[in-house]
């Protein structure tokens, strides 16, 4: 009876792990596809991502604990004293999935942001003209806010207001992209959590240096606050 129960429990955990990995792949695809379907509504796609995470959590990760408590544990307890080791297997599998899920969200947010950026950055790839003399205006392309643009010909100050989808780039989009480009440092930071405090602090610093360097490539006007931004984030994290 013992071997049969353990074999069935192992087979169940393997099946859940396989479904979990397949769900993450399908989930990422659904999130990326949703951008075209909702006409590049970034926040609707972000909601899709969070809803998928919630569903995978409810239908797969929590199901491991539920199945253990309601079906497997009573049978094993009645059969012998080996149930504690098998319980650990279930908890370990659920913990691994939670960590994998957090990483999946981190990466998928980055890929979603990358796809959105590719679309929205082109929205101002066109000429804009002075309202007074019709001369071409030099609009800053990596400044995702309204801006004053002085006409080089008549010196009139024009106010350029980009469309909302373009402005969105300057918020979560560049942050998620920067995080994606610092993925390697992020992984090292997570590993360093179990090391000594000094090693962890160094890993955190390395991560935020990379993160803000990538962010500055996307938002050059934030370069002058680089050091303060890094220190603030380190303080928040540690």
């Amino acid at each position: 009876m013992k071997d049969e129960l353990i074999t069935r429990w192992d087979a169940f955990l393997q099946k859940m792990a396989a479904r979990f990995e397949a769900s993450l792949l399908q989930g990422e695809q659904a999130v990326l596809d949703s951008l075209e379907e909702n006409n590049y509504d970034y926040y609707a796609s972000l909601r899709t991502l969070m809803a998928i995470r919630s569903q995978v959590d409810a239908s797969l990760i929590r199901k491991i604990n539920d199945t253990w408590q309601q079906q497997v544990e009573p049978l094993m307890r009645a059969d012998g004293d080996y149930w504690a080791d098998e319980s650990f297997k279930g908890h370990q599998a659920a913990d691994d999935m939670h960590e994998r899920m957090s990483l999946w969200q981190y990466i998928t947010e980055g890929r979603l942001a990358e796809k959105y950026y590719g679309h929205a950055i082109q929205l101002i790839n066109r000429d804009f003209f002075c309202t007074q003399c019709n001369a071409p205006l030099q609009v800053k392309k990596d400044f995702f806010m309204a801006q004053y643009v002085a006409c080089h010909y008549c010196a009139a100050v024009n106010t350029f207001e980009p469309e909302t989808k373009y402005v969105t780039l300057g918020w979560n989009v560049v942050d998620s992209m920067s995080a994606l480009y610092a993925l390697q440092e992020y992984g090292e930071m997570l590993k360093a959590r179990s090391l000594n405090p000094l090693a962890y602090e160094q890993a955190v610093r390395k991560y935020y240096e990379k993160y803000f360097d990538e962010r500055i490539k996307l938002l050059p006007h934030t370069a002058h606050t680089r050091e303060q931004d890094i220190e603030r984030k380190i303080k928040q994290t540690i």
């Binding site: 949703s34 796609s45 899709t48 809803a51 929205l123 804009f128 106010t159």
Partner: protein, 66 residues
């Protein structure tokens, strides 16, 4: 086989809030003086018109503490 999460993305799209203050196209505009219709030249005071001296605002106004 269709994506099992398609229904979630459909629901997100259908239930998305329709904001009424979104800008769907970029715009360039110039604020002009209500008295002489001149635009503001670069590097000039935003409180008054550089051409006719019309005051757009009164910079001496102070905000009372609550």
């Amino acid at each position: 086989m269709s994506n099992p999460f398609k229904k979630i993305s459909d629901t997100s799209r259908e239930t998305a809030k329709k904001w009424d203050n979104t800008r769907t196209a970029p715009a360039v505009q110039t604020i002009t003086c209500p008295q002489c219709a001149a635009p503001r030249p670069v590097n000039t005071n935003i409180a008054s018109c550089a051409y006719c001296g019309f005051r757009f605002m009164d910079p001496s106004v102070t905000i009372k503490p609550q």
